[in-house]
Amino acid sequence: MTESRKKAAARILLFSALLLFSYILQGLILNRHPIFGAKPLILPFIAVGAAVFFGRVKGGVVGIAAGFLMDLAYNQPTIMFTLTLAFIGLMVGYLVETVLVKGLFAYAVSALAALLICFAVEAVGYLIAGGASASAVLGVGLRQTAASALFAIPVYYIVLGISKLV
């Protein structure tokens, strides 16, 4: 096995472990123990981190896997977040390759954007068809974003560590 293949295999293994751990944390533990009254999102940060450190293609691939797991955690068909996180991975990777400088700032801005996109994707249906008031939906969104933000920096350093290892 060549050195580059070994690195690719190690990368896949490490990201698979990170995705699985995040799925367990987000979908099976913190869904029962909300923070600030909200269940946090963690999986989108992995797609963003992969895109920032490994580019748009790997960001997109990790985005598909993260989105698939997020749809499973949400008890819904593998459509909404599979598409959304793949799109986020591709876009963040593209922006880091063209406009943003790879690093914490690019990650933080992209992570916040990812959280807001995930919120918007989910909330729009409730606002349009569900008859929910904007204040109620925004309140949930704010709590969700605040709870999720706690996990942004730990995920950043884990993905940074992976990028240095492989």
Binding site: N31, G37, R56, Q76, G130, G131, S133, A136, V140, Q144
Partner: protein, 282 residues
Amino acid sequence: MKDLISKKGIIVAAVAIVIALIAAVTMAVSGGNADFGRVISEPVFKPLRSAMNGLVGTLEDIYGYIYRYDTVVAENAQLKERIAELERDSRDYTEIVEENDRLRSLLGFAMRDFDTLPYEMKDVTIISWTASNFSSSFTINRGASSGIEVGDSVITAEGYLVGVVTEVGSTSSTVVSIIDTTMSVGAILSGTDETGIVEGDFNLFKESRLKLDYIDNAANVFIGDSVLTSGRGGNSPAGLIIGTVESIREDSTGHGSFAVVKPAADLSSVSNLYVITDIKAG
């Protein structure tokens, strides 16, 4: 922009779209059965969910034992008082049982005595709750192989309605709880026989409450009234206990009103449930 639509980028986007399309098509074709994502992940994720559910439950028990000792002692004292009260009440036991049986037969259900229930049921366990902040659903450990179908009602041992099965895999199913905004079930108020529709409402969602709307005559609705399923609108059989009227509120137009219903089932603590799979013949 030219860089964005590189060959590999297009392939990744195409893969994501194909996965979503297959999921949508399999959902549409199977008529409510689990999409392909659930089907391919079920063998791995169902044991994982069950194991994590058990582990988290055990850790919660340990935490409770260590950090809530004082609470447990106080609860123990309360329970001793309660036992003394119950012993006093036991004098009336026979009379209450007879009255209870009579009332239950009048209502057409007898929830505490499963053998006399007019339903075929399967006992199920919740293996995971949704991670969404916008919806309320959970996964149970039985699916099509146990005879569970989309639309089946899920109840507690006390006969309280908890939710309705919305998606069925071979060995697990998704249940949308009664407070979810997609839920809607025909309801009847015990005593007044007023009918209406109980539905999930996003503005009441965080309070774990339901909305009783479209009532024939709102003036006949009183706080404390029991709300039961009417058997109309949806697959839920008549007579299941939904909850009690907690308050009456004006709607957003200011011209009408609706009742806020507190669910009888405590959704934060339910674990072992029953799925009504059929109505017994005769």
